[in-house]
Structures are given as structure tokens and as C-alpha cells.
Symmetry: C2
């Protein structure tokens, strides 16, 4: 049998490894998004193909992280902030796996898009992607460092992403109404911007989990608080 001190140290070691895996997943998810968006912007079919099939390592980590969380809960029966950290890790793991799925959705839309003449300079799409990726990175850093200020910053950034999505939609709608040839490729871009918006939503989920983990304070459903 190990001493209580050893158990605490083992648990903290395992928790650090869990965090490292989540950071690794975040890096992979980000890279998948980067590939898909670069494939779209550069009209590069090879990059798009890589983004379409590159989710194996992310999915393997998804299963590993889930298993690590179960093991930690079963072996160490953590309490308070440690328990909240493991439950947060379960949720964050799901969010990161979904970001990988969204990168594939972006790559699928990109594959459609490059079959048509380009609609416009895609300046706003990379800008949306870069905000979403930055939100994701900050949210994971906030998790690892238990930094609620950084988590709050992520929540604030989501408005910028939504505003860009609305602007892109309006602009693309104008093209579609002016020239039917742009309808199909513009639809692809509208879907890409929705996927990027959802990546921002996942970063927001992670940030909310961080705030709950640290403060045990639920920042979701602000408007429902009084009900």
C-alpha cells in the first residue's frame, strides 16, 4: 500500500499527464483546422485531402483521455477542485474531438469549393479561423494554469467571431443575389464560417468549464440565473 502522501503525488502526476494530453489534443485539433483553412484559401487539394483523413491521432487521444479520466476517478476518488478538474477534462476532451470533426467538415466544404470558380478574396475566413484557434489555445492554457481571467477573455472574444460570421453571411448573400454562378461556392463558404463559429463555441465551453473548475461558479445561462 502507498502512503497518503504518495497517493497525492501519484494523483498530481497523473493529472499533469492528463493536462499534457489535452494540450496535445488541442495542438492536433488546431493543426487540422489550420490545414483545412489553408487548403481552402490556397485551393490546395493535397492539403484538403490531408485535413480530411488526418484525424486518427486526435481520435486515439480522445479515447486515451477518456480512459485516463475514468482511471483517475476510480483509483483516487478526488474531491473538490480535483474532482471538478477531472470532470472538466471529460468535457474538454469531447469539445476537442468535435473541433477535429469540424476541421473535417471545413475540409469537405473546401473540397466542394475548389470545384468552382472562387467567389471572393477569402480574407475574412482566415481571420475567423485565427480568432477561433486563438480562443481554443487560450481556453486550454486557462485550463492548465487555472487562469479564470484568461478564460473570461475567451468568452469575450466570441462576440468578435459572431460579428465576422454575420458580416461574411451578408457579403456572400449579396454575391449570390447578383450572380447565380456564385450560389454554390458561396454556400460552401457560408458553411465554413458556421463551422468556424462552432469551433469558437467549443472554446467558449472549455472556458466556462475552467471558470467552474476554479471558482465552482456556474457562468452558463446568465439570463436563467434568476429563474
Amino acid at each position: 500500500m502507498s502512503s497518503p502522501e504518495q497517493r497525492v503525488r501519484h494523483f498530481q502526476d497523473e493529472l499533469e499527464q492528463l493536462k499534457a494530453r489535452l494540450l496535445e489534443m488541442g495542438g492536433l485539433a488546431e493543426e487540422q483546422v489550420r490545414l483545412a483553412v489553408k487548403g481552402l484559401v490556397d485551393r490546395d487539394r493535397d492539403l484538403i485531402a490531408r485535413a480530411l483523413t488526418g484525424d486518427g491521432p486526435l481520435n486515439a487521444l480522445h479515447i486515451e483521455v477518456d480512459n485516463r479520466c475514468f482511471t483517475l476517478l476510480a483509483l483516487y476518488q478526488p474531491m473538490a477542485v480535483d474532482l471538478r478538474a477531472i470532470v472538466a477534462a471529460v468535457k474538454i476532451n469531447t469539445d476537442l474531438e468535435r473541433v477535429g470533426d469540424l476541421a473535417i467538415n471545413i475540409a469537405e466544404a473546401a473540397r466542394q469549393y475548389v470545384g468552382h470558380a472562387p467567389v471572393k478574396k477569402l480574407i475574412d475566413i482566415p481571420r475567423m479561423a485565427s480568432i477561433a484557434q486563438c480562443m481554443l489555445r487560450d481556453a486550454l492554457d486557462a485550463f492548465v494554469r487555472r487562469d479564470t481571467d484568461l478564460a473570461q477573455h475567451v468568452l469575450d472574444e466570441d462576440d468578435a467571431l459572431d460579428a465576422l460570421k454575420t458580416q461574411i453571411f451578408r457579403e456572400l448573400l449579396t454575391y449570390m443575389l447578383q450572380d447565380p454562378v456564385t450560389i454554390e461556392p458561396a454556400l460552401d463558404l457560408i458553411l465554413v464560417s458556421r463551422h468556424l463559429e462552432r469551433i469558437g463555441d467549443h472554446a467558449t465551453n472549455v472556458a466556462e468549464d475552467v471558470i467552474f473548475m476554479v471558482l465552482a461558479k456556474d457562468v452558463r445561462h446568465h439570463s436563467a440565473e434568476g429563474s
Copy 2:
């Protein structure tokens, strides 16, 4: 101090209450989707307004269920299938809350849609909604009854939903190419069908969690199994 037998009984009572809350959430989420789709089909602005603002009870339950899961983990330190059931409940809770968000997204698209002339008879949209709602109900029943056959049935149903989404997209694209007046309302319907597809995805997530909970077998990422 309570006896081990009492602890087991208390835990099982609490677990039953947790399941009851998740079923209640499922019912609320389904009703929100039903309202939003009926508002769209009947062009009923009152129904749409109710769907837009009716997520308070669902959000309150979301927070309650999360708290119940933490309490169960902290007080009873469950093992094996009980531990997997609580972690599944944490994930299902998130999925149900997102279904409520998607009902609002559908209502937002419906609000846009009724500002335009109707594009077509909306037969396929209610059909998609009914498949998605049925998947959600079956997935929750599978969770409560630990029924992996029913969970597998939910996974199979997802193909029907995807096929309908593709068919709706092609049909709407034809309208858009023929008549620019249909572009804006057709875009609203495309987004609605994507939201309904995502409700099916959440039902699929729940079904996968049920299979993992019962069999401790991961049915996600089939293609990645060999990697």
C-alpha cells in the same frame, strides 16, 4: 453513519432521480424542437417567439443535473458501471442542453423564413425533425434501461437523417439557381436542416455513451481502431 447497504440504496435512489431529470430534460428539449419546427411550418410567429425564449427550464435542469453528478461522484465514489453511468450523465446533460440551443437556432432561422414568401412545401423538414426527435427519445430510453440494442438502433437511424439532409440541400439548391427570390428563404431552410442533423448527432453521442456505459466498449472512431 449509514451502513454499506443504506449507502448502496441511497446511491441507487439518487441515480434514479438523476435519470428522471435527464428524461425530463429530454422531454423539454424535444418540445422546444417541436415548437420551433411547427412555428416554421405553420408560419406561426407566436410559436416561434415561444421557441426563442422557452429554454429557461431546460437551462435550470442543466445546472441541476451537473450538480447532482458532482454530488454523486463526491459522496458515493461509485465504481465500474455506476461510475460510467455518472460520467455518461455528465455528457448526456451537455448534449441535451445543446439540443435546446439548436431549437433556438431553428426558431431564429424560422423567424427569418416567415419574413419571405414560402419556397416549397416543407414536408421533409418535419420528417427530419421527427426522426431526430425519435432518435433522441430512443437514446434516452436506452440510457435509462441500459439497452444497447436500442442504442445501436439510434446509431443506425443517423444515416436516414443524413440522407434527408442531402436531399433537402439538392432540392433547395435547384430552387435557388432557378429563381434568386428563393435564395434567402432557401438558405434559412438549409440552416434548419443542418440544425436538425446536429440534433441527430447529439442523439448519436448519447447512444454511444450508453454502449460504453453498459459494455465498457468504445464504439466511437471505428476507423481509428486499428491505428
